[in-house]
């Protein structure tokens, strides 16, 4: 019975023009993005280092203003001279010096020196020239990983990672939310338009809900995976690099670690899967409460924006933070922790929280449905909605 119903729902989904549009969008989004993005050539590492070295040199201008007079600034100045010379060495080792081991060693030392400077409060260095702590930690994790796994410092596979992280920045979060909300916005409301045909099936409400969520999840996730694979194949061919062992940095337990690209993608897609299910369940709940397809999207978006509004208004509403966990890319890269000022937000906490919320949603849906059977009509008779 359940599977026959599911087959029927699938048929309906296939006939719906909106689903085709979303499917096509998901299929080609990644590839188009990569095609557009490939017009820009990524900056090679030696140039990046040169820029870093020059920017760092500018700090001396500011330090000079105060180091004779303020002792803290003098200390910072000391450290900075060491940092600067190491930076110079790095540019050599990456260029003609060609010694990646030394490069890495120097890099690690620079990081520890910079952390020392942070301890001193960065006195004398203007805001825009301070290297943030997170950057230092990230660089550290990256260098360690490269050292431990004997990888070359620079490679085209870095470029692939760059692409991936760029496309995910754009996609994960608002765009993803909107797509899932749009595809699922009529899951229950659709039944209202064919009420006398679909009412009265000997199938429990939860079974129907499971069927609908399942179908929408499968269809969305399949096209997402296909689209991403299509895009990545394109990028890999273009750069002739497809190594999935190259490191990507993620945030874990208030620190940064590097993991291989393959592992990273697994995390991302697990996260997206959970987020998809959660958003679909939310759509069902909103359908039950508001009975209108547009309400679904508007309220779904509204909920997502609540933490931003609260923050802008100055409320420190930590209980709203989990809403933002849907942007799994930001969670993984640690940017969300920085944005919300809550350093305990990492992938594992977020996934657990999302899982709990999913279970809660199922519970609420179940509860509301159960309630309709136990309500007693007082003034007016009660009508069955779904």
């Amino acid at each position: 019975m359940f599977w026959k119903y599911t087959r029927f729902e699938t048929k309906l989904l296939l006939k719906n023009r909106k689903s085709w549009f979303v499917a096509v969008f998901l299929l080609f989004f990644f590839m188009l993005f990569f095609m557009y993005y490939s017009q820009e050539t990524p900056v090679p590492l030696d140039k990046k280092k040169a820029i870093e070295r020059d920017t760092s040199y500018a700090v001396f201008e500011y330090l000079d203003l105060q180091r004779h007079d303020l002792p803290e600034v003098a200390e910072v100045y000391n450290y900075h001279t060491q940092i600067q010379s190491l930076l110079g060495m790095q540019t050599w080792f990456i260029g003609n010096g060609d010694d990646s081991e030394q490069y890495i060693e120097n890099g690690l030392e620079i990081n520890s020196l910079r952390l020392e400077v942070h301890e001193l409060g960065n006195k004398g260095i203007p805001e825009h020239l301070i290297v943030p702590r997170e950057e230092i930690l990230k660089e550290d994790a990256l260098l360690h990983y490269i050292k431990d796994n004997n990888l070359p410092i620079e490679s085209d596979s870095f470029a692939t990672n760059h692409y991936i992280s760029n496309v995910l920045t754009m996609f994960s979060g608002l765009l993803f939310l909107v797509i899932v909300l749009i595809s699922g916005n009529e899951m229950l409301v659709y039944e209202q338009r064919h009420q006398s045909v679909l009412r009265g099936f000997p199938l429990s409400f939860m079974q129907k809900v499971t069927s609908k969520v399942m179908i929408h999840f499968v269809y969305l996730y399949t096209f997402l995976l296909l689209g991403f694979t299509l895009g990545s194949t394109y990028v890999a061919k273009k750069f002739d690099a497809g190594e999935f062992s190259f490191p990507v940095l993620i945030y874990k337990n208030e620190d940064y670690i590097a993991i291989s690209t393959g592992q990273y993608l697994v995390y991302i897609f697990l996260g997206l899967a959970l987020a998809t299910i959660l958003i679909l369940l939310l759509s069902i709940l909103l359908n039950m409460l508001f009975r209108n397809a547009f309400a679904n999207i508007l309220i779904g978006l509204g909920i997502f924006l609540l933490p931003d509004i609260a923050m802008a208004a100055g409320f420190k509403a930590t209980f709203l933070h989990p809403i933002k966990y849907i942007d799994i890319f930001k969670v993984l890269s640690g940017d969300l922790a920085i944005e919300l000022g809550n350093s305990s937000i990492d992938y594992w906490n977020a996934m657990t929280t999302l899982g709990i919320i999913t279970v809660l949603l199922i519970g609420v849906i179940y509860g509301i449905n159960k309630f309709t059977y136990h309500r007693v009509p007082k003034e007016v008779p009660l009508e069955k909605a779904f």
Binding site: S196, L198, L203, S204, F205, P381
Partner: protein, 296 residues
Amino acid sequence: MLKLENISVKYKDKVVLDNLSLTAKSGEIIGLVAPNGTGKTTLFNVISNFLKPNKGNVTFNGDLQYKTERKEISIHKQLATFPDQGDLFEELTGVDHMKLYANMWKGTTKHVKEIYEQLQMEGYVKKKVKTYSLGMRQRLCFAMIAAADTPIMLMDGVMNGLDVANVSLISKRLMQMKQEGKLIFVASHLLANLDLYADRVIYLKGGDIIHQQPLNESTDEYMKLELTPEQYEKLAYTLPDDHLYIADHLCCIPIKNMSMDEQKEWVVRLSAYKGKELTIGPLGTVEYYEKYYHEF
């Protein structure tokens, strides 16, 4: 099989059903007759629990009621309702719809072909619903509920918009279903048509059943003649006490207690009224309808 006890459906300003009770067994076709807006659809909605009444119980097979979802599903496994043709899926075919109903209730689609062949639908049943006329859609809706093949069926307006041939097809099928032991409720405005297959006809008025007319018991025969009120006034004192004057136009004289001679006498006397039909037969749904609802 089905029992309704003291069903009341009241809104703030209106009473639709008032303390209605009813029992029905399998192998029956029950006609439901009432003018528009007197609660036929509401009654059906209550029976299938699409509407929860203010008061009253619906009981199936002696002990099953709509108290929890699981019980509701058990009941719905045995009950199917007639869909509205406006709710059909335009992009799907007739067969798709029938298979849906067959799968959801019966679990198999083997019998679908036989149904649409008997209903003479082969010509179009594989095309998309958006190409259908009203009659074809109505037939499809009936085919769907036939494919569901549940022991209890609620049919609200099954003959709407159908031509004479189609009405006959469906009536035949209904009689066949009754032989198979189904309990079928038919709400209809085709009153004479009900006489063909219904076992009893229920008349709703004021929120309750005001009359139940069993149709296959041996019924009394009447002589029926159309008379204007003036003609009736003149004749009234000669008529036997148990005569009826229905809806200000039909005079009915029971003949069961009359001898052959008395009957002949009456036939001659009544034939004097030229230009009107004199029929001899039992009172049908039409006559009862007029009797009870004439004020409208």
